[in-house]
Structures are given as structure tokens and as C-alpha cells.
Symmetry: C2
Subunit: 794 residues, 2 copies
């Protein structure tokens, strides 16, 4: 089967020919990087490429042989191990989540207690000193370890996990150092800044899942015999999904919400069996948390242990509402939508600004972190002075003022028997503040204090997230929403039958809907947080409205961060303009192909010259001499072949026994430990002149589409099946059996608009065939109608 005429172009003569079809086009990457956030800059500085993941099973002869050799015992062990790993992920996630909460509550609690004690003793300056210095030290610590050890652990991690489950492997997101820094950095940041712990917890959970599928912890062989069966992108994806579910479940103590969050917001592919395993994992988390919290109820956990398994129990409040209350709920939804999309807008601007600062180096990152910390401390300590002192209510069971203890009635600068309601909101941990806001009773807070608190929480949330340290978005958003929800409740006064605490819950829902734009999962999480199923219709309504309103203005916050990070996230739906284009409209440049039996020198040259990860293998039949597509071979497999050095002296088919020369371990794809580069393999001149038979290692059944297929249809295939390479075959039988290769980047709007700028201009085609279109459209009509008279008057 040796080819008489090589189909490949001569490399030495036309080297430039190889450049355009890079899978990771430097051009695109640079474009992505140019508007990057802090975390991108860090990824960029490592110069690691953002790799795609291989979910497709490489059906080559070697794989088939290996598959046939597997016995029943293998299957049974695999299944046992799969469930055992889920169990372990659940147990570890639950334990880590508990530990995180415990540490944060105690660290922040002690800080607040000290401040509070000093305030009681009227040592105001010293109180501020203790408060600000503690915050500053903790923030600096978090920024230092993040910046120096694991830059990938900055931020919430949810966008990265989402991208990973979409098929994009951001470098180092699941390395052990990232995992550890995330845990300890998160404790330090959450104790000192206005950021949340839920996002990092999702990343931590996903990391636990990924670590089981890493294969080895370093370049050495720290790997179990059985774990290696999970060393592929498919199984790793499943483990990460289960881990992320467990993370959410641990963060919110919300098992069903965890599964739904992973399904609705994180995962791009989903199977029924995976649903079941994720469910099992979160059930384990719930049981572990329950057991650990039982220990705490006996008072062995310091300042932690109030919440129990339900964090913010509002069952005591009865939910009675009439039709008129629905109006207020709708209003709350609209406000949430507007505030949410403005939040996202501000966040984008702030992250862009921070990115340019963080790019300059660790010193600048520390400077930024320090500034944010000092601003936070000053705001939290300064604002309560503007609040008026409230007399202690008579009816409360709680101690008022709390004095040197934790509680809802901080007297701050107020005289005895008075309390400062703003200080009560600020000088509690976020969880306690939310619990406070969700509690029933209508006379706890002064409207002016609530407004101040809302402004502080809203803007501190915006400025704090961009710090180079683990930081989540959920808790600040829930808190901010609860504040304005309660405020709206106060404004409504007696016109509404709903309790102010319920307004606060609905406010949280509306702000979550406005920023995160998740509906089902947020709804279930809120129900599980508050343990009040009767709220369900109201929460659903408010979420739908706020999401609809906010969607008409901008994207959800995670999508926005993904874009800023330059991660090529592939959406599941096709835009209308994709129906106008065929696949051949977006592929570029000549192809890099190999012959079935290829010269070693050629392979080395191509691997060095390009960044491609898959190469079509072309064969010609000696009789007809028309070449045909034999399959596709991966770069990683080529590297294995080159390293093995089983070369042939002449251009002929190999006759070696595959199972003797190669084992399935050779082709295992490890997790974050990157395989050797082509530069690491040194070959002699003699070897370069020899040949390799690629046939046994070529995937003989790649997915193909015909060149006339619309981009929309190809996208559905690419996305639904989870591909990395999609081969385009010609319609007519031309000389060349292949037109091009589609990768993830070819579906990115940036790439398509770059090739077809006219599409950009015709607005209609760019509009998404989606719900948001409608509202955006109506909005524009409204704007134009309101503008028209004024311009005619002008």
C-alpha cells in the first residue's frame, strides 16, 4: 500500500504553506488576550496554549485490539471504581466544604469580635486598626499565595469549570497547587473582603473530581493501577461534573440544587447515567455535612454551627399572598433585572481595568489587593457612623445590644440600650447578615441604613471580585439582593401582605436572576437554602422576569468573564447567520496531511512547524492512484510513536505485533501534566530518513461533513457529539479527498466575522434567534419612539 506519488506537498519547498491552519491560531489567541482580565494575563504569561479536549473515541486498530482484550472483570472493576470515586468525591467535598465554612466563620468571627469588643470599650481608633489590619494581612496573604503559587486559582473558577466541561482545557485549573491555594486563599479572602465562598467551592469540588482522573500527580508515576482507566478526557469530564455538583451541594448545603446547577449552568453534555452519579455524589455530601454539623451543634466548632443543614430557615414565616402581591413581585423582578445587568456591565469595565493592572506583575497585584482591602475596611467601618441609633426592641429574645458577642444588635458608637442597625449588617459574617435580612418582623431596619448598606454591598461586590485571589460572586449577590428586596418591602409597607423577610428572599432571587441568569438551579438552591416550598411560585416568577429583563441588555456574568478570559466557549445553539454560511466558507488555508506510511522527517517537521493536534492520513490505492481519506491521527499519538522509535527502513506496511510493542498505557492522556513536546524528542539524521506506518494508530472513522453543509448544521454535530476535529469532505470526487478541518475556533464569532465582515454589518443576521431578541427589539422601538419626538422638537 506504499504510495507511488506522495499526496503531500514538499515541505522544504513551501514552508509557508503550513501556517494558516493552526488549530490554536496565534492571531486569535492574541486577540483574546488583548482584552483579558487579571486571570487571563496570568494564563497568557505562562504562554500555555488553551487546549481542546478529546472526547471522541479514537477508533484505531490498536484501540480495537485493546478493547477486545478486556474481560468482564475489567468492566466490573471499572464500574465499582466509578462509584467508589463518586463516593470519595462526595466525602472529600463535604469535608472540605465543612472545613472551609468552619475556618471562615471562625476567622471572620474572631476578627469581628475583637473589633466589637474594642468598640464597646470606646477604643474606636484601635478597633479600626485591628479591623483594617486583619483584613489587609489576610488579603495580602491570599494575593501572595495566589500570585506566586497558583495564578489559575484566582477568581471563582466557575467560568473555567464551565469551559472545561465545554471542551476547553485552561492550563493548570485542576493542578494540586491550584486546589490547595483555592482552599486556603478562599478562607483568607472571604474572611477579609466582600466576596463569596460558593464559586471557589465549585472549583474545589471540580478539582477533587479532576485529581482522581489526573493519572499522576507529577511527571513521576504516582498513580494507582486502576485509576489509569480514568486517565482520559471523557472519564475526567464525568468526574469533574460530579465534583462540581458536590461543590455546589457543599457550598449551599443544597444537594438537588447542586445537581441542577451542574446540569443547567456548568455542563454542556449530559447523560442520564451521569445524572444518577451526580445525584449520588451530592447525596453523600449531604450526609457527610449532616454528620459534621451534628458535631457542631454540640458546640465544638467555635463560632460555627448555627445554620444546620438548612442555612437560612424561613419556614417560620407564613407565605400568604394575594393577586395584588404578584404586582410587587413583578416589580422586584424588573428591578433585579436592571440592577443585575448594570452589575454585569460595571463588572466588565472593572475587570478590564484590573486586568491591565494585574498584567504588570505581582507587585501591582499586591497593590491592587491592598487598596481594595483598605477601601473595604474604610467603607464598612466608616458608613455606620452615618446611621442613626435605634432603640432596642423590647420583644426580642436576643441580647440587645449584643455588646462583645455575635448578634444582630451591634451598638457600635451608640449609647447603651441602643443599637446601630447598619453596624449590625456590616459587622456580621455574610451568612449571618443574610439570615438577619431573611428573618421575619418588619421593624428591624431604618430605610436610610438599608440604602447605605445596599450601595456599599453593590459596589464593594463589583470592585472586590477582580482581585488575584479566590473569590466568588454568589454570596455578595445574594446579600445585595436581600438588602434591596427588604427595602422594597419596607417601601410597600401595609399595601403588601408579604413579610419583609420574604421580600428579602425574593430580592436575592431577582438579583441572582439578573446577574447569573440561571433559573431552575437558582430556584432550587433558594428553596433548599430557605426550606420554604410555598415560596416556589413567587421565586419562579421573579427569576423569570429578572432574567428576561437583564437578558435584553447584556450577557450573563459567567459568559462575560469567559469572553474576557479568552476561553473559546462553544454555544449550543446556532446563530441565524450560520445558516447562510457553508462549512467551506470558514476553513482556511492548505491542509497538513500525512501518508499512510510517512517519513519520520516529514512528521517531525510538520509537528514543529504547526500547532495542529489532528492530522488527516491519506492513502492511495496502487491501482487507481486516486487518494482517499484513511483517517485522522492525533499529535499526542504521533509523539508516542516518535518516542518509541519503532521505525521502518523502507516505505512499507509494518508487520510488528502491536500488543507486544505498545501498551494502552503509552497512549494514556494525563490530566494537567502536559506530555512532552516535539522539541524534547531528539532523533538522528538516519532515523529522520526512516518511515512510520501510521495505519494502526489512525482513527479510521472520523466524523465528516460534506462541504456544502451549513455552518449551523455542522455546529450542531460538533457540539452535540463533543468533537475536537471535524473533517470536511468534498461533494464531487475531486483529486483531493479532503477540503479542510473544522475545529472549535472555526465556530467562534470572532473568527467568522473576521472572514466575513459583511455579516457583521447586516444587523438582522447577527441577531440571535432567541428570546432576548424580542425584548431587545421592543426596547429599541421604545427608545426610538421616545427619541423621535424630542429630535423633531429639537
Amino acid at each position: 500500500m506504499a504510495t507511488a506519488e506522495p499526496v503531500m506537498l514538499e515541505l522544504e519547498e513551501e514552508e509557508s504553506i503550513w501556517e494558516p491552519l493552526l488549530e490554536h491560531r496565534p492571531v486569535n489567541l492574541r486577540r483574546f488576550a488583548s482584552n483579558s482580565t487579571s486571570q487571563v494575563a496570568i494564563i497568557g504569561s505562562n504562554l500555555c496554549p488553551i487546549e481542546s479536549l478529546d472526547y471522541e473515541i479514537m477508533e484505531n486498530d490498536f484501540f480495537k485490539q485493546d478493547w477486545r482484550s478486556r474481560g468482564q472483570a475489567h468492566i466490573v472493576s471499572y464500574v465499582i471504581l466509578k462509584w467508589t470515586l463518586c463516593l470519595l468525591i462526595g466525602v472529600i467535598s463535604g469535608a472540605v466544604g465543612f472545613f472551609n465554612n468552619l475556618a471562615i466563620e471562625n476567622l471572620a468571627g474572631i476578627k469581628l469580635l475583637c473589633t466589637s469588643n474594642l468598640m464597646v470599650a470606646n477604643k474606636y481608633l484601635m478597633a479600626f486598626g485591628v479591623f483594617a489590619v486583619t483584613n489587609f494581612v489576610l488579603t495580602m496573604l491570599a494575593v501572595t499565595i495566589t500570585s506566586s503559587i497558583a495564578p489559575a486559582s484566582a477568581g471563582s473558577g466557575i467560568p473555567e469549570v464551565r469551559a472545561y466541561l465545554n471542551g476547553v482545557d485552561a492550563p493548570d485549573i485542576f493542578s494540586p497547587s491550584t486546589f490547595l491555594v483555592k482552599i486556603f486563599g478562599c478562607i483568607a479572602t472571604v474572611s477579609s473582603l466582600h466576596v463569596g465562598k460558593a464559586g471557589p467551592m465549585v472549583h474545589i469540588g471540580a478539582s477533587i473530581g479532576a485529581l482522581f482522573g489526573q493519572g499522576r500527580l507529577c511527571k513521576g508515576h504516582l498513580t494507582g493501577k486502576w485509576l489509569k482507566h480514568f486517565n482520559n478526557d471523557r472519564d475526567r469530564r464525568d468526574l469533574v461534573t460530579c465534583g462540581a455538583s458536590a461543590g455546589v451541594a457543599a457550598a449551599f448545603r443544597s444537594p438537588v440544587g447542586g445537581v441542577l446547577f451542574a446540569l443547567d449552568s456548568l455542563s454542556s453534555w449530559w447523560r442520564s447515567s451521569l445524572l444518577w452519579r451526580a445525584f449520588f455524589t451530592t447525596a453523600i455530601v449531604a450526609i457527610v455535612l449532616r454528620a459534621l454539623i451534628d458535631v457542631c451543634i454540640k458546640g465544638k466548632c467555635g463560632l460555627f454551627g448555627k445554620g444546620g443543614l438548612i442555612m437560612f430557615d424561613v419556614t417560620s414565616t407564613s407565605v400568604v399572598y394575594h393577586l395584588v402581591d404578584l404586582l410587587f413581585v413583578v416589580l422586584l423582578g424588573i428591578i433585579g433585572g436592571v440592577l443585575g445587568c448594570f452589575y454585569n456591565f460595571l463588572m466588565e469595565k472593572v475587570l478590564q481595568l484590573y486586568s491591565s493592572i494585574n498584567e504588570k506583575g505581582t507587585k501591582y497585584r499586591l497593590l491592587l489587593g491592598g487598596t481594595i482591602s483598605i477601601v473595604t475596611s474604610s467603607v464598612l467601618f466608616g458608613l455606620p457612623w452615618f446611621a442613626s441609633c435605634q432603640p432596642c426592641p423590647d420583644s426580642t429574645k436576643e441580647r440587645c445590644p449584643t455588646g462583645g458577642k455575635m448578634g444582630n444588635f451591634h451598638n457600635f458608637q451608640c449609647p447603651p440600650n441602643y443599637y446601630n442597625d447598619l453596624a449590625s449588617l456590616f459587622f456580621n459574617t455574610n451568612d449571618d447578615t443574610i439570615r438577619n435580612l431573611y428573618s421575619s418582623g418588619n421593624e428591624l431596619f431604618d430605610p436610610f441604613s438599608i440604602i447605605l448598606c445596599f450601595i456599599a454591598s453593590y459596589f464593594l461586590g463589583v470592585i472586590s471580585y477582580g482581585v488575584v485571589a479566590p473569590a466568588g460572586l454568589f454570596v455578595p449577590v445574594i446579600l445585595t439582593g436581600a438588602i434591596y428586596g427588604r427595602f422594597i418591602g419596607m417601601l410597600m409597607g401595609s399595601r403588601s401582605n408579604l413579610d419583609h423577610g420574604l421580600y428579602a428572599v425574593l430580592g436575592s432571587a431577582s438579583f441572582l436572576g439578573g446577574t447569573m441568569r440561571m433559573t431552575v438551579s437558582v430556584c432550587v438552591i433558594i428553596l433548599e437554602l430557605t426550606n420554604n416550598l410555598l415560596l416556589l411560585p413567587l421565586v419562579m416568577l421573579v427569576l423569570l422576569i429578572s432574567k428576561a429583563v437583564a437578558d435584553s441588555f447584556n450577557e450573563n456574568i459567567y459568559g462575560m468573564i469567559l469572553k474576557l478570559k479568552g476561553l473559546p466557549y462553544l454555544e449550543g445553539h446556532a446563530e441565524p447567520y450560520m445558516r447562510q454560511l457553508t462549512v467551506s466558507d470558514v476553513v482556511m488555508g492548505p491542509l497538513c496531511m500525512f501518508n499512510g506510511v510517512e517519513k519520520v522527517g516529514n512528521i517531525v517537521h510538520v509537528l514543529k512547524a504547526t500547532g495542529h493536534n489532528g492530522f488527516p492520513v491519506i492513502d492511495g490505492t496502487p491501482i487507481s492512484s486516486t487518494p482517499y481519506l484513511f483517517g485522522i491521527i492525533l499529535r499526542s499519538h504521533l509523539l508516542v510513536l516518535l518516542r518509541k522509535r519503532n521505525f521502518l527502513p523502507t516505505c512499507a506496511l509494518t508487520s510488528i505485533d502491536l500488543s507486544k510493542e505498545y501498551s494502552s498505557d503509552d497512549f494514556v492522556k494525563y490530566g494537567y501534566v502536559k506530555p512532552d513536546c516535539i522539541e524534547d524528542i531528539e532523533l538522528t539524521e538516519e532515523e529522520m530518513e526512516m518511515f512510520i506506518d501510521l495505519h494502526p494508530f489512525t482513527n479510521t472513522s472520523p466524523y465528516t461533513v460534506v462541504e456544502t453543509m451549513s455552518l449551523a448544521k455542522a455546529l450542531i454535530l460538533f457540539r452535540e457529539v463533543g468533537l475536537r476535529h471535524l473533517l470536511i469532505i468534498p461533494k464531487h470526487n475531486r483529486k483531493c479527498p479532503l477540503v479542510g478541518i473544522l475545529t472549535r475556533h472555526d465556530f467562534m464569532p470572532e473568527h467568522i466575522f473576521g472572514l466575513h465582515p459583511t455579516l457583521m454589518k447586516s444587523r438582522f443576521k447577527k441577531l440571535r434567534f432567541e428570546e432576548s431578541t424580542l425584548i431587545r427589539y421592543l426596547w429599541r422601538i421604545l427608545l426610538s419612539s421616545s427619541h423621535a419626538p424630542s429630535s423633531s422638537m429639537g
Copy 2:
């Protein structure tokens, strides 16, 4: 582009050649029908083929032209309409669900009250007479209307909806007559037999969705101008999904559970935007139900109105448990699994028996229905005589004995101040009995009564479902589970801290897990039914265990019914043996292909001779004369072309203006109203000799796979993308551009094992690479090890 040599074989000469590759092979259908249930027999008697659905967008020139002509107003109207339809589906489903409940509670309630009154007056025989006659009449009524008007409305409808959302269109399942018979038949059956109302409600909800997408209600044109945009299988699928969610939500008053049920158990494909719309629909259902139930609380609904939005409120019971209680919960899970799979086994046998009876005609169906009704009446009336009389408890707030009223303390044959606990369970509506079993307090029931009640409920459930009338499975399963759950609780006595009511809830969960094998959705539904989130970890645990245990023995009940009905449901995962086969191993026979410009006579002949629904169109370039694949054309489109009679006199390309001669309405696919058959189109001899240019109507970009691809990989593509036809192209450039067409039937195990009987024999290859394998394997080890000693001793 006229082909010099036609690629097609001469039809007249070799007619037999067309037979083997029928998409709906009569052979297979007959095999399916041979082991059919009552409902299959009915479907079979209509001789309607089970059609597949077209989810793929047919990218032909006509479609592309039509697409380009659509303006922005079109998109906006489409989006508005989509949401409006969801709103309507929600409102109607909520209202119908409410009406159904109201009617059932009142009908059954009046029947029970009359019986009860007569019992109080000691007129035992007359009481039995009233009871049995009412049941008999109602059952006969239901069987009569179902059998004569809409046989497709028999059973729960969940398997059919599941198959529809998988791409299989069983005849008449969404016709208006089925819809109406389902509503009224369900009321009659549920009031008289031991069957549930939830399954029919899912079908009713799905029907509401489908009716909006039907296009026209009969062969006339009862269709709105805008609704026609939903007259395609894709949009109809979305509407049916939303409708099914709404149905579940209305049945259980469980909005989140409804969405999850549709996602987890019904739907085969899912998009994020669909999740959102389903969520919106169920929110509307919740609001409508709330409003209607508010009316009932004021006592205007007769005997209905107790439950409120939460059906079985168990929040009053405190959930405190320790590790030792988990053991009992595990035990409950195991028992549920064993009972559940035995239930499925019995159900299968009973349905097979009933099927052979029902096949014989309406008389036999009535006879069967009557027998079941009389058996049910006798059991319910007879068994309480065996129960001992219990003295009325002093502490109860309820009236005891209830006398002629509804309540938990029926005195039946007992003296005053005594009550018959078995009669209390039997002479309530199912909802009230479940509420009774879920209530806290440990001394309500006698163990002997509970055992009798369990046996009656278990076996009545098995024998009742097969009746030719609308009947659900959920409520009997929940009830039976609650009974044995409570019994286990009584057995445990003081060893367990859990309340007996909680044991009943967990028993329901375990039996649901054992029969239905749904985890997440059932879990959420139970939580929403009982309004007690603290139960969550226990419910999760019990569901996981019962599902795992039951899965090791047999399939879930809906899968089993699907198989009995002969609906070719396509599983989402590939079996291991599918990796051993290539796609060319399963396609059979020669292909029916058309030329780009084809003779009318040939088309008519092929359409008459085959049952195919898609035909490859082959073109040859005049220069090279090697034919190539132009695309695929649908039977329905060919029929439109034949009916339009725009024929060409010679074999040449057409030059007509497409948009003038054809409109997109011509190609609309209506719902259950089947298009005309080829037999209805009469053409003259002259016309038969003319030609049609198929090019503008041929889908130019069908999905293709190479012949060497494994069946497993092709299945993933077929299932994930939602295909009806998958073309197989040759690896080498041979004379023929196409190897065959894969359809749904080619992936059915029956078909594959028919072609490759050796696969059947090798047990390993047949084993599913799934969780159940493990347990089955361990089970076998256990069995063999327990057998081995005894045989050696013998």
C-alpha cells in the same frame, strides 16, 4: 447535468430488489406485535405504521430561499408566539388538572359516602351493591369510550410520550379524540379502579402542547396563520416537552418536579432554552392551581379542597435521625427494590395475558374491564371483614367513628366507638389514604390490617393497569410503598427514632425507585408533595438503593411497556457489542436511489413499492461520469412534488421560479393528520413519462458516516443530533457513492442480533457496560457459590 447512464437499477426487471431495506420493516413490526399488550393490539389493528420524526433541518434550495426571505418581524412574532403558547399550555394544563382532580374527588367521594351511609344503617348487602355497581358502570363507561373512540388513550401514555420525544410517532397519540377520551376516561377509571391519575395527566399535558402544534384539527384548514410556523416536528417536540412538564406539575402540584421529570425521564434531547420555557410553563401551572385551589378553600368545590398546593404536608413531623436509622432506611431501599422489580415482572406477564384477550375485540375488552371491576369491588369490600375492630383513640380531633362522613375512622361493621382500620384505608380516595398513611402518630393501624392492605394494593395495582382505559401507575405505587413503609416502621418499633409517617414517605420513595427507576425527578416530586426538605438525604439514599437493587434484575416499567408496545425507542448509550460492529455490518440490501432529474414513473413506482421515507439523490458529472451523492429527499416532499405536477417534458434542469410555484405551506408537516398517500395521487400515462428536477428539494447536506465507523460511534451521532436517516459513504472511491442508509431500526438490538446471532451467544458482549452489570455479576457469584457446596454434597 443530465445523467448519461442512470445509476438506478431498472425497477421493472428486478422488483424484489426493493424489499429488504424498508425503513419500517414489516418483519420487525410483526415481531414487535407478537408480544404486544392491549394497547399494541389496538395500534396494530389500525395498521398504522409507527413513523419516525424529522428533526433534521432539510437544507434544500427551497428552504434556503425561504429562510432568507424571512424578516425580523417574523422572528419577533415567532418568539412572542412561542412564549404565548407556553403560557396557554400552562393555563390549560393547570385548569384541566384541577378539573380532573375535582371530578375524581367528588365522584369517588359521593360513591364512598353512599356506601358508608348504608353501612352505618347496617344495610351491608345494599352497600356492596351500590359500591360494586357504581364501580362497574364507571369502568364499563371508560372501557367503552376508550375502545370505540380512541384506543390510543388507553394506559398511562407516559411510554408513548417518551417514545415521541425520542423520535417515534405512535399513531393517534395526540389526536383531539384521544385528548378528550383521556380526560373523561381517566375520571371514570380513577374513580372506580385502583389506578392513578398522574400518568394520564402527563399525556393530557403533552396532548395540549401537541394540539397547538398540529396545524389543523382535521383535514380541513382549521389553522391560525401564525400557528403554522409550529407545524414541524422540531417545534412540536418542544411544545410536547413543555406540555408534559405542565402535566406532571399539575398532577403532583410540583413545578420543579415537573420540569425534572420531563428532563430526566421523558425527554431524549434537551436545550437550555427549552429548560427555561418548561420552567415558565410549570410556574404558570403552579399559579393557576394556586388561584383555583384558593377558590376551593372557601368550600365551593364539594368534597375537594383539602390538600392545598402541597398535597401531603408532613412538615409537622420533625425529622430527627441518627446513624442507626440509616440502616433501616437502607433496608427499606432493598425491600423497595425487590418488591419493585417483582412488580414489574408481574406487570409484564399480566400485560401479555391481557393483550391476547384485548386483541379479540371490544366485547372481550369489556369483559376484562368488568371482571377487574368486580374483583376490585369484592376485594375492597370483602377484606375489611377480616380486620379486627379498633377502639377509637381518645386524643384525636377527628370524629370517630366518622359515621356517614369522609374521614380516617370508618366504623364499617364495627360497633359504635370502634373503627375498622382496613376500611379506613380502603374507603377513602387514594389521596386521602396516602395522607392518612403519611400522618404522624404511631398507633393508628393494626399490623394484620396493614399486611392485608399491602397485598390488596400490590396485586390490584398489577391487575388493573392493563385495562383498555386511561390508567396511571404512580398513585398505586406511591400508596403501596407507603403501606409497606409504615409496616416496616411498625416492625422497627422503638428501635428507630423515625416517625411511622416518615417511614411511609420513604416506603413510597423506595417503591417508586424500584418500579419507575427515576431518581432526581421522583426525589423532587416527593419533596414537593410532602413539603419537607429535611427528608432529602433519606429520600435520596432510599431511591439510589432501590433503583440499584431493582436494576440488577429487570428493566424499568416504562421501558418494559415500550418494548411490549413495539415502539422502537433508541437508547442514548452504546452497548459494548456495538463497538465490535461497523455500520456496514447492519445495513442490508440494495438501495433505492433517484437521479437528480428523475422520471415521474420511476418515482411513483419506488414510492409504491417501498415504505422508505428518505431517498438518496445521485448526480453524475457529464465529464467524469462517476456518480456522486447530491443529497437526500424525503417521501413527503416527493408527494408534494407529484401533487403539484410541475413536470418537465425532457430530462433537463428546471428553470421555474421556486417561490412562485411553491410556498413553504406546501411542505409543512402536520401533526397527527397524515398526509395523502402515493395511492391517492393519480397520474396519466403521459405524465408518468415526464421528469422532475429534484435538485431544489433535495437536502444537500445530509449527515454521513464512513462505512468503517463502529456502530457505537454512529449511534452517538444518530441519537445526539436526532436523525431519521444517516447515510453511509464508502471509504474508497468506488463506483457507487453510497453504501446504505441507517435508520432507527438498524440500531435496535432485535435487528442486530437477527443479523449477527453469534453476538447473542457470547454473553460478555451482550452485557451492558453499566451499573446494573456489576450487581448482576455479584448476584451470580453469590448464587453460584451458594449452589456449589450443595451440589458437591449431592
